[in-house]
Symmetry: C2
Subunit: 326 residues, 2 copies
């Protein structure tokens, strides 16, 4: 006789976690941008439409970068116009500069994700500007977003680890976030572990302090699993009070400029862990796994434990323990 699903741990002894989180699916952008073979626009649109049907709240659908820098994203306008917009889903796009922001606004995205590297050497390698120079330039993007009434979210690449410089000090990251909030008017800031260098203690310490310092700002985490710490860092972020996480379907992706980078955290693995812990994502794990299989078939590879092993048996068809259940 199967055991019933065990009750959740005594609340007095449980980890203090948020009741729910928002997942931003970045696979269509961060995952696909690494692919050498051009993925047909129709396939990208089909993947995004499939993902939007899983209950996911946000999808970073593409990036408006120069096609010579990232040829895979040359069809950004076509992708955005091809999507069947689903009510309740926010479709965002990454932009590196004002020109990209203008294209994103014209294409009709719901929000712009502006990315600046938190370390000078990574920023110089990507944009031939220091971080401070890039923040100056970002004013144009912020103005453009404000005029068009499109939210500009600011993300800091390498904030939790840089392949060239090591770990930027917390104070530098706090100063950059302050500039994003005060000068650019950001109300949502993304903190990225671009090449999977951060450990849970670093993630927890940074996020707890940032959340404590910038009241009213929403912080999201962009984590990679390069050194196996991806989901441990999600847990540390949750404990610090973070309720927004980027994740990539089938674990696709990496950073084209950062040596040694591999693999965003997998959306399937992340959602499975969250739901098992009773942290609600609003996402149907079965539907998400089907999209993971689609993404894997599309690119011919994947890096998702759950796509290999399936959900924990007693959860399948997926059913997480419910608080108070005996």
């Amino acid at each position: 006789m199967p055991h019933p699903i065990a009750p959740p741990p005594d609340p007095r002894t449980g980890l203090a976690l948020p009741a729910g989180v928002t997942i931003c699916e970045v696979g269509p952008r961060d995952g696909l941008q690494m692919e050498k073979t051009f993925i047909p626009t129709a396939a990208k649109v089909a993947l995004i439409d499939g993902l939007s049907a899983t209950g996911i709240g946000e999808i970073q659908a593409t990036s408006f970068v120069h096609p010579s820098a990232v040829p895979q994203m040359a069809d950004a306008e076509e992708v955005i116009s091809g999507i069947a917009r689903r009510p309740g889903v926010r479709y965002t796009a990454l932009v590196p500069n004002e020109r990209g922001a203008a294209r994103a606004v014209a294409a009709g995205v719901d929000a712009i994700d502006l990315v600046v590297s938190a370390t000078d050497s990574h920023c110089l390698a990507n944009t031939r500007m220091t971080t401070d120079q890039a923040m100056q330039r970002a004013r144009g993007v912020a103005r453009l977003g404000a005029e068009a009434n499109v939210e500009v979210r600011v993300g800091f690449a390498t904030a939790l680890g840089c392949p060239f410089e090591g770990f930027p000090p917390y104070e530098r990251v706090e100063r950059l976030v302050g500039a994003a909030v005060e000068t650019l008017g950001a109300r949502h800031v993304n903190i990225a572990d671009t090449v999977g260098m951060a450990d849970p203690q670093r993630v927890h310490g940074f996020m707890r302090r940032l959340i404590g310092t910038f009241a009213g700002v929403t912080f999201s985490l962009h984590l990679h699993d390069t050194r196996g710490m991806g989901l441990a860092n999600v847990l540390a972020g949750l404990e610090a009070g973070v309720t927004n996480f980027d994740a990539s379907i089938a674990g696709l992706g990496g950073c084209p400029y950062a040596p040694g980078a591999s693999g965003n955290i997998s959306s399937e693995d992340c959602v499975h862990m969250l739901e098992a812990m009773g942290v609600r994502t609003g996402i149907d794990l079965g539907a998400l796994l089907a999209e993971g299989a689609r993404a894997k078939a599309l690119v011919g590879h994947a890096d998702s434990a759950l796509l290999e092993a399936g959900p924990a048996r007693a959860l399948g068809p997926y059913r997480a323990p419910v608080a108070g259940e005996a």
Copy 2:
């Protein structure tokens, strides 16, 4: 100019973690037992001797099971007698029953790891006994260990998830631990997530309650990374007060009886995360990575993120942030 390594997070905002832990390396047993090709005894001994030079405190060197059940472990006596015993390292062996325990004692192990499945169906599949019947039989092993003055540690497979039954209730696991302590005299109990089903909230809840209930008993965790939660579960265990963890060099291993099982947590990934968080392991990560490469070459595969990506750049050659460092 590279940044200096960032200071650790403000202690007021950091996760509360133990200052140090003991890692039990289970690769020579749990890792190699799955290999179809017989690994020569000399290669096993060389791996164990290499591991013992990394600073690791405990090595589960082999298992005294019937050779027809696990042919790979048929040379258990030769492995134990071939090791160059290093002072300060505990060499243990897994045993399923009294016959195995007698062999282990005769071979001169430092401790016996007796394993019983916490769920009846897994126990029946492995031993044709229910868990309670297996616990009755275990008395013989306990007596034998006591007579020989060799510690008997009791481990509960599937305590955190069973591929056949789902999740055993906490109360069942507590009852079994109670029997191990009272009837078998165990002072060290291993709690296993044999097929990687547990989430961090379950691990934290179980371990916190067990540690709170059984004062004076040392608890260790045996975790698998089957669904990507391995290191997140280590973090949850640390937060619950667990200071002993099994890990397997190169991430080798699995469970021969449990469908869908794969991969223990990798020793390299685990030690890297712990040291990065300031939790001392006493292990030289560089030396451990060299043993990971040796293990990978020996069996022709590996499942360790760190073996692929290397340590976080600012840590390599390995250097963890030090509390108070500016």
